[in-house]
Symmetry: C2
Subunit: 158 residues, 2 copies
């Protein structure tokens, strides 16, 4: 056992397939995303609100009248994604465009009364989803995720 096969020994003895399967950080984040999205979506379904729309609505509520470009920078979302996602929310009457008279390149959006009402309604259900998530992750897991987020993913940073 003193000899190794060179073509298989370039990375600690693991081929690229095993290496990706065992180490890929993205794979894990995406799976986590799918599971958690399922939890929140299920709780919010009665309101016709998707989890990702909730995030957007909350951001718009906090950021006041805000342009798509700024939303995109804060949430790491492509402008084209925002055009389409916000369109649905405009149609649903949760947000509205307002005139600002300063920059003719599109209009800022703000939350409507209905949008705010909806957020207040979903409160308990969002909390239920959050609790289910914490239970799923375990106390340690939830703490880890919070630390990870606080570190590099502060959503509310502007």
């Amino acid at each position: 056992m003193t000899k190794t096969e060179p073509h298989k020994r370039l990375n600690h003895g693991k081929g690229i397939i095993d290496q990706i399967a065992h180490e890929c950080l993205l794979m894990r984040v995406r799976k986590l995303d799918r599971v958690l999205t399922g939890i929140y979506d299920a709780e919010l379904r009665p309101f016709g609100l998707k989890a990702s729309q909730t995030t957007l609505l909350v951001f718009v509520a906090k950021a006041g009248p805000v342009r798509r470009i700024e939303i995109g920078k804060c949430l790491c979302l492509d402008p084209s994604t925002l055009t389409r996602n916000l369109k649905i929310m405009l149609t649903n009457g949760w947000i509205q465009e307002i005139a600002d008279g300063e920059d003719g390149r599109g209009l800022p959006v703000q939350i409507t009364v209905q949008g705010r009402d909806l957020l207040n309604q979903i409160g308990p259900f969002w909390r239920k989803a959050q609790t289910r998530t914490e239970k799923f992750l375990g106390n340690d897991g939830a703490t880890l995720l919070r630390k990870l987020a606080a570190n590099k993913m502060e959503v509310s940073s502007r």
Copy 2:
């Protein structure tokens, strides 16, 4: 300051909007997903391979001939998602369906020679993306994510 407004004091003095903005675990995971997906996609773009396809291809490579239902259980993916995602990979010749003669409800898939070659080719680029991700998260962040994943998100578990 002995009195509080009841309608605003149900959750440590925060309205639901602030509460979601500051605490929502899903919001953070989704943003993290978008950022990391961008990193891996950028590195793999020259190969015409999306990050999520890489995950699928690696799983199929390791699981040998495998049915959609089992892939779905392991990766927490809806069967209907798999039908469509695998179709693209079949078209590209990275995987193939094989006859198994036991169960007529659809055919298991396995990786092709081209698929395996592709995985070997992307090795260095996947590693570059992984390194960029670790740099982005910081050593602490990467460690946290690994622990989180090891805890509840073991992808290779069958």
